[in-house]
Symmetry: C2
Subunit: 339 residues, 2 copies
DNA sequence: GACCGCAGCTGTATCGATAAAGAAGCGGTG
DNA sequence: CACCGCTTCTTTATCGATACAGCTGCGGTC
């Protein structure tokens, strides 16, 4: 059978098996009230005829698709690739399919996905928000079960799985201090960036660590990125070295940025960890492979994925349940860059 | 309006606007034959009522969803992330949405996606196949417009956008020879791997280059990976050094493997490019950022994405058109690892 | 023997949109 | 004035599956 015409419908199966459509439906969906001989006969015909259920029709009637949307800033990013892989697995365990969408890390893109998620027939949406303003009215209009992933400050209105932004960065900076660093820089997005929440939270954790270790938080040690990725990190490293900024440790806001810093330091002959110790955030798979391998804050990605999927499915079941917030556990992965 | 009950249908809009459903449908779909005042009135009501079209109903009637599936081995992979980003853009330009699926780089996963693509309502499928046997009968049953991406040997039966596997690797090996390398290793998957076609094709290109440059193809210079990724590459590098294999250049089957080799050489104190020159294949974004930056075969990813999308859409329009095959253009990106 | 309960199956309306054919209004024409 | 062609809008019949009420046959009960 080729494509096109030859679509076998449930009615055809019913006719061929000598039963009603409803009986076929009951067999297909494993519902009780069908005798064994009839069930067998129907399944036989289904196989022979090559019948495949029409999902549009089913969805039109039942209202469920079994597809969850996962909206990430960029599919082309180690961190989100990793996350996606875990979410796909977790969702499969609960009988859901994941469709990945890209928002472009902009509030506009995120609203677009929310608005389109009904068009794409999602039963629920896991949104790895970055540009979103939690107060934006457009968030309310969605009317689709939704979980925020990796951001904070949505607690009141949405289910939310947060990264340990503050705690993680605090531990990272303390880790550097424990290795003997005294002038620790933080390389992060500028405020007003798309990733305001992540940026400010992580900065706050850094400050808390300095305070606790009795180190001064000098303003020039806050290095602002022009672009929050490896390219931006590389340029930042050049500026840090060229401007004569004295520092013996650096906390990077993400592993991607840290990778850029490594590259930028290499460009200028600054050795890691001999001259400068460096720590990142995320623990992407590459961190282990980089030269030198990258110490980093390692949130439990699987835990986050599992929690997110658990929360959406729970909300699909009961749209009225109160929103909850959860922060992922983390460890510090110590590697060559801080040894 | 919250979730749940308050679903506004096209009929409601029609009633509120004092026109028929069909007129609303015509307005929604920008079809001609609606006067300006009526059009405005309908759009007004659509806005006020918060009406959103029910895609299942539309799909049930029209048979089109506007969604293309993109099936890749792993979403958690720099190369496929990059590819996906381009495909998403190209598809958007033609009014299609992309849903990304993961096959797990196994033939089973790939069939699963093909089989499920009707369930997920894809109008067409772009399949980045790796484990698939082109002769497998199950391929025929799909009945969905499909394009193979990155593999070869499907010419007869499917539209196909190929990587310049043979040509690219040949150029890569020649590039090393031109830089003075005399004992060039190739690090690649074992035959019988999931990626047989890629592996054999790239190996063939390597052999052709050696032949052309009058270099001997010694068997021990073929290094087989136990895993075709960075981890496997790292282990391979260790073996290459520890076993006393003499070599002054290496062609890696992918950039991911090359990254692992870089790491593995660093572990053993082998310097790139001073002691060994290294070249990869794919030109993932990381290649520029690695330390040292990685020379690599750079296929035109945008071109591939554009071609793939063009081919599926063409096949959706005309399922009977003959299958065609296209090979992506490429350049050699020269960076530090071969300088 | 009339009646009940129940498992197993059927008939029909319905989900929300769209395609195709048909009606209504209107200026122009012989 | 009957008729035409055109635009604008309406009507009716689906698309394929599912929910629900209803029908049937049959063993059991008083």
């Amino acid at each position: 059978m080729t494509a096109g015409q030859g679509t076998v419908t449930m009615g055809d199966v019913a006719r061929l098996a000598g039963v009603s459509k409803m009986t076929v439906s009951n067999v297909i969906n494993n519902r009780p009230g069908v005798s064994e001989p009839v069930r067998r006969r129907v399944l036989e015909v289904v196989r022979e005829s090559g019948y495949r259920i029409n999902v549009s029709a089913r969805t039109l009637r039942s209202g469920r698709t079994g597809v969850l949307g996962l909206a990430v800033p960029h599919v082309n990013s180690a961190y989100f690739g990793l996350l996606a892989e875990h979410v796909i697995e977790e969702a499969a365990g609960r009988g859901f399919h994941i469709a990945i969408e890209q928002t472009g890390a902009a509030a506009e893109g995120e609203f677009e996905v929310i608005a389109q998620s009904h068009k794409l027939q999602f039963d629920g949406l896991i949104l790895s928000a970055s540009g979103l303003d939690p107060a934006d009215q457009r968030l309310v209009g969605g009317g689709i079960p939704m979980v925020m992933l990796g951001e904070r400050d949505f607690a009141a209105s949405f289910d939310h799985v947060a990264m340990p932004n503050e705690e993680g960065t605090k531990a990272a900076a303390e880790h550097l201090a424990d290795r003997g660093c005294r002038r620790i820089a933080i390389v992060t997005g500028a405020l007003g960036d798309g990733d305001v929440n992540v940026v400010t939270r992580r900065h706050r954790g850094y400050l808390a660590a300095l305070l606790e270790r009795g180190l001064a938080a000098e303003p020039e040690l806050l290095v602002a990125l022009d672009e929050m990725n490896a390219r931006g990190g590389r340029r930042a490293a050049h500026r840090m070295v060229d401007s004569g900024l004295g520092f013996d440790g650096a906390v990077a806001v993400t592993d991607g940025v840290a990778q850029g810093l490594l590259r930028g330091f290499a460009d200028r002959g600054v050795r890691v960890p001999d001259d400068v110790r460096l720590i990142g955030f995320d623990d992407v798979p590459d961190a282990e492979i980089m030269v030198p391998s990258l110490s980093t804050v390692s949130p439990d990605h699987r835990w986050m994925a599992a929690k997110a999927v658990e929360l959406v499915t729970a909300r699909i079941e009961d749209p009225e349940r109160p929103a909850t917030e959860h922060t992922a556990p983390f460890t510090i992965a110590e590697r060559e860059s801080t040894r």
